[in-house]
Amino acid sequence: MAASAAVTANYVLKPPPFALDALEPHMSRQTLEFHWGKHHRAYVDNLKKQVLGTELEGKTLDHIIHNTYNNGDLLPAFNNAAQAWNHEFFWESMKPGGGGKPSGELLALLERDFTSYEKFYEEFNAAAATQFGAGWAWLAYANDKLKVVKTPNAVNPLVLGSFPLLTIDVWEHAYYLDFQNRRPDYIKTFMNNLVSWEAVSARLEAAKAASG
């Protein structure tokens, strides 16, 4: 009983940590209804079907992601598994009344590794704006250093050996209803109004602990 509960429990469509209309006017309820309710849900449902009866069945998302990345020559389950992971991480990267400048240790590290918060902001914006086609931009932690990374389609820094700390989804479905083609406006809105620096700080602590 416990074993089969664990199998399906790995692939759960967790609701975002806020109501679907809580990010208005910066990210509309309509966007979240589709983005979480349709896109994210489909990745989870399709992953369940895809791994059923295979040796990936019952494995964690992390395990599937690492084992299907295959150095970039992606195996079939990678897309659904990574996108399920990425989207849950994305919702938890945001909060109502978020955005602005972080403080404390996180700010100190951003200033250390980017020379200033403004330089980090510029670099993160640029990565998100210049990821061509579908993808994600990240703040990631590796070798005791913070860095900005951009990835195509479903790829995330886990497979590149880094700890993700923050992400923005730049697939068109993430912003098209609210911003149409205006991705730069979406990115600015995300940075100024949505980022949950608390979540980022908590992940940084976890990353530092995990790196020993």
Binding site: K38, G133, P152, W171, Y176, Q180
Partner: protein
């Protein structure tokens, strides 16, 4: 807007060819947005006027603007013998040049229903489709399935392999033109499956967009290209 409604399509076609290229400083050929041969709302209900306007005026225009910038930088770098900049610019050229190439084809691949949009291909292309795919329905089913399966952004194509003299269905990622899948491939019909091509109307349901887009596919144009390339 005014030009499009007053001029006949033949005149416009002549203007289009020359106006899509501007000769700049030192003979560097840059590009401008080609006019659509139909109004933005003319493909409804298959593709909304809102999508057509944003797709044409914002997305295609941005590819052209960025392509021109990349070409100017490339021109400078080539003339300076700056090999590393020349190489660095290749991805911007592929993305944006590809975007311009692909969308220029796409607008011609579409036509309002009252101007032949959706009318099945006749002549040699019609026969070739039956030979290679069994029927037009067979081709449509295959292209729709492959278009739906594209992960992320890209295109699904019906192409002619000139070397093997056969029709092929293939997909490309991002704005890669069909020729990146094979030097002898000539695009006949391309369907944009980037989310911007359908999201405002069809949201996440890409298969529904793919079902409906066939109603406005301009097989006359595809046949013209096919017949020309088969000579």
């Amino acid at each position: 807007m005014a030009i499009r409604s007053v001029a006949s399509r033949k005149t416009l076609a002549g203007l289009k060819e020359t106006s899509s290229r501007l000769f700049g400083f030192r003979g560097l050929q840059t590009f401008t947005l080609p006019d659509l041969p139909y109004d933005y709302g003319a493909l409804e209900p298959a593709i909304s006027g809102e999508i057509m306007q944003i797709h044409h005026q914002k997305h295609h225009q941005a590819y052209i603007t960025n392509y021109n910038n990349a070409l100017e930088q490339l021109d400078l770098a080539v003339n300076k013998g700056d090999a590393s900049t020349v190489v660095k610019l290749q991805s911007a050229i592929k993305f944006n040049g590809g975007g311009h190439v692909n969308h220029s084809i796409f607008w011609k691949n579409l036509a309002p229903i009252n101007e032949g949009g959706g009318e099945p291909p006749k002549g040699s292309l019609g026969s070739a489709i039956d030979t290679h795919f069994g029927s037009l329905e067979g081709l449509v089913k295959k292209m729709s399935a492959e278009g739906a399966a594209v992960q992320g952004s890209g295109w699904v194509w019906l192409g002619l392999d000139k070397e093997l003299n056969k029709l092929v269905v293939d997909t490309t990622a991002n704005q890669d033109p069909l020729v990146t899948k094979g030097g002898s491939l000539v695009p006949l019909v391309g369907i944009d499956v980037w989310e911007h091509a359908y999201y405002l109307q069809y949201k996440n349901v890409r298969p529904e967009y793919l079902k409906n887009v066939w109603k406005v596919i301009n097989w006359k144009y595809a046949s013209e290209v096919y017949e020309k390339e088969c000579k």
